[in-house]
Symmetry: C2
Subunit: 222 residues, 2 copies
């Protein structure tokens, strides 16, 4: 397994529920985190809240551009709308860095959630096209923001499928999943197979509605 060492994780969209929840868990696990947001002030305000919640000092808040510049590994946790524009605007700052896309392009109508069709194939492949000089991976699609935010849940009962074509990059992302108690990072295939992992979130939302749950996946026999 890859060594995380002194890796600094940046979270684009770090004031949203998914990014904030993962940042909280990483901070508690001893990993330095930078929350990124459109507004540096809002980011620093959220960072202050996470420092208090996690009881640590190693959380800061910056605007998205500065976050991309300062971080070694960058989680993309922004809304699907604006995903392409944001990444294109950060192409230089994210060059040569490991990028983790966790975005789920979903629509909702009267019948519930459904997967949106994405021209590039998936959000992760859209990121790959926007960031040709970055090491793009896809992971953390199915983690419940509610569970992440609830620190009374000490162990997060979920496996994280980690996709990508760069072995070292997927190993580091798996290590970031393993760093959160209860969670495991499992290699889940090449980036071209990201669509179905993103889209499966629609099914997990259907499970949640039927069973009043915060459903996640475990991979058996691994």
């Amino acid at each position: 397994m890859a060594e995380l060492g002194q890796v600094k994780v940046g979270v684009l969209g770090g004031t949203g529920p998914q990014g904030r929840g993962l940042a909280l868990r990483w901070a508690k696990a001893g990993i330095s985190v930078i929350l990124g947001s459109r507004s540096a002030d809002r980011a620093e305000e959220a960072a202050g809240e996470l420092r208090a919640l996690a009881g640590v000092e190693h959380v800061s808040g910056l605007d998205n551009k500065a976050t991309a510049t300062e971080a070694d590994v960058v989680l993309v946790a922004v809304p699907w709308e604006g995903h392409a524009d944001l990444l294109q605007s950060l192409k230089q700052e994210l060059a040569n860095k490991i990028v983790i896309d966790c975005v789920n392009p979903l629509g909702f109508d009267k019948q519930g959630p459904f997967a949106l069709s994405v021209a590039e194939g998936s959000a992760a492949q859209q990121a790959e096209q926007a960031l040709p000089d970055s090491r793009v991976t896809a992971a953390f699609h199915h983690v419940s923001a509610v569970v992440l935010a609830d620190l009374s849940i000490a162990e997060v009962d979920i496996d994280v499928l980690v996709l990508g074509d760069d072995r070292e990059a997927t190993d580091i992302v798996r290590a970031l999943a393993d760093a959160i108690p209860g969670m495991r990072g499992i290699y889940g295939g090449r980036l071209r197979n990201a669509h179905q992992v993103e889209a499966l979130t629609a099914n997990l939302i259907a499970v949640n509605r039927r069973y009043k749950a915060h459903a996640g996946l475990r991979i058996t026999d691994v």
Copy 2:
């Protein structure tokens, strides 16, 4: 949970590994099974093998058309090539019956498995279009044929996502999953969300290759 009662399950493609494996497990669970194949002789030969393996009498073999006629619930476990043609040819026989599609439209190249694009959206939706008078569901996509065939594995460690728009039909299909020791049937959303469940099989094959496993899914918090 739905009562299975004296339901008779037909398996189109019952001499293939997936159909045969599920038939074996259902037969052992006391459920009457008809193996369907293009050739009635091959179907009856395979049925004889399953009767011996399961130590039961309630397995028979017929051609696909007779199987569709005789069965109450029909599992479609045929290769993707020929899927549409076979179902269109059985439209009358399958009218008003519960149909379970477990077909995964996948391609393979040097980089491994990938999801095929399906005009109707998914194999299950193709079945729905071919069988407008049937109650089409989708389930059993991720069950390892190797595990099913190995009766030394008493408990099959997997959850089966059951998709469909007909509540009673999905309840009966869930009961068919629950009937196999270790397995659970979990409602997984409407049929329009079947594509990603089918396509996820590509990811599980990638997991299997990396970890030398027969990977399956469990749904947490349910």
